[in-house]
């Protein structure tokens, strides 16, 4: 038996103002588990950026979180348009966000780079027209 706790979040693609609910929730749960504060902050940042991406680009999706004694993994899965050029998307400042999102303060092209920086490992798999899955690990 693996010693882990599982959480799943459904991200609503329609409601931009609710972005952050999943990351806030996992943050408070991890705090209650006495995970070290730096790791909690990094998890919250990585997941929030992921939530924003799913809402802006993919009409929502799911986030599966597994908390182990020494690390956390999260799998963010959507059925959106996919990312044609992942290397390009990883460049700081490269953005395909629409103007209405930019006017809210997002779309600076920092989402994926922030996720990579906040996590210890990150993998992206994406098929154009089918969707994107981002897997991130944060070590405690």
């Amino acid at each position: 038996m693996e010693n882990k706790i599982h959480f799943q979040y459904l991200i609503d693609g329609d409601d931009f103002t609710r972005a952050g609910e999943a990351s806030s929730d996992i943050k408070s749960k991890l705090k209650m588990m006495n995970i070290n504060p730096d790791a909690v902050r990094r998890v919250a940042i990585a997941m929030y950026e992921g939530e924003i991406n799913m809402i802006i680009h993919a009409d929502g999706g799911t986030i599966d979180v597994d908390v182990y004694p020494d690390k956390l993994t999260m799998v963010l899965k959507d059925t959106g348009p996919g990312i044609p050029d992942i290397d390009k998307a990883m460049e700081e400042g490269y953005s395909t966000a629409p103007d209405n999102i930019v006017s809210l303060g997002f779309g600076a092209g920092m989402g994926l780079p922030n996720m990579k920086r906040a996590s210890d490992e990150m993998e992206i798999s994406s098929v154009v027209g089918q969707g994107t899955t981002v897997t991130m690990t944060v070590l405690f």
């Binding site: 103002t17 952050g20 990351s23 919250a44 929030y48 600076a108 092209g109």
Partner: protein, 115 residues
């Protein structure tokens, strides 16, 4: 300087007092791009911005900013006020510019250090 001490200076209009007034402010932080703030806002900072929306507060909460100061006359709508209240985030506003506001806080912090 604590958030309480910052508020007592009477330089800001208080939109929401917040739930942790004894918290120390670490440094001023100036940024209007939320994703940039998300990656760089230091915990405990006094975040000076003109970006007044719900997502500003989500970023403040997740990065554990000490308080948010809306500058240059930016104002909070009712949704933002309600979220600040429900999350216990200190939300202030001023007509002064971002640089001027941040500089004032920087000076306060450093005067305090020298005491």
């Amino acid at each position: 300087m604590t958030i309480q001490e910052l508020i007592r200076q009477d330089q800001f209009e208080i939109i929401n007092e917040g739930s942790d007034l004894s918290r120390e402010i670490t440094e001023p932080f100036c940024c209007d791009l939320l994703s940039v703030a998300m990656g760089n806002a230091p915990a405990g900072c006094a975040w000076c911005t003109v970006m007044a929306n719900m997502n500003t507060l989500a970023v403040a909460s997740l990065t554990e900013a000490g308080c948010v100061i809306l500058c240059m006359g930016a104002s909070a709508d009712d949704n933002m006020k309600m979220k600040a209240a429900s999350e216990g985030i200190t939300l202030l506003r001023t007509d002064r510019g971002i640089f001027e506001t941040a500089l004032g806080i920087y000076r306060n912090l450093h005067e305090k250090d020298q005491l």
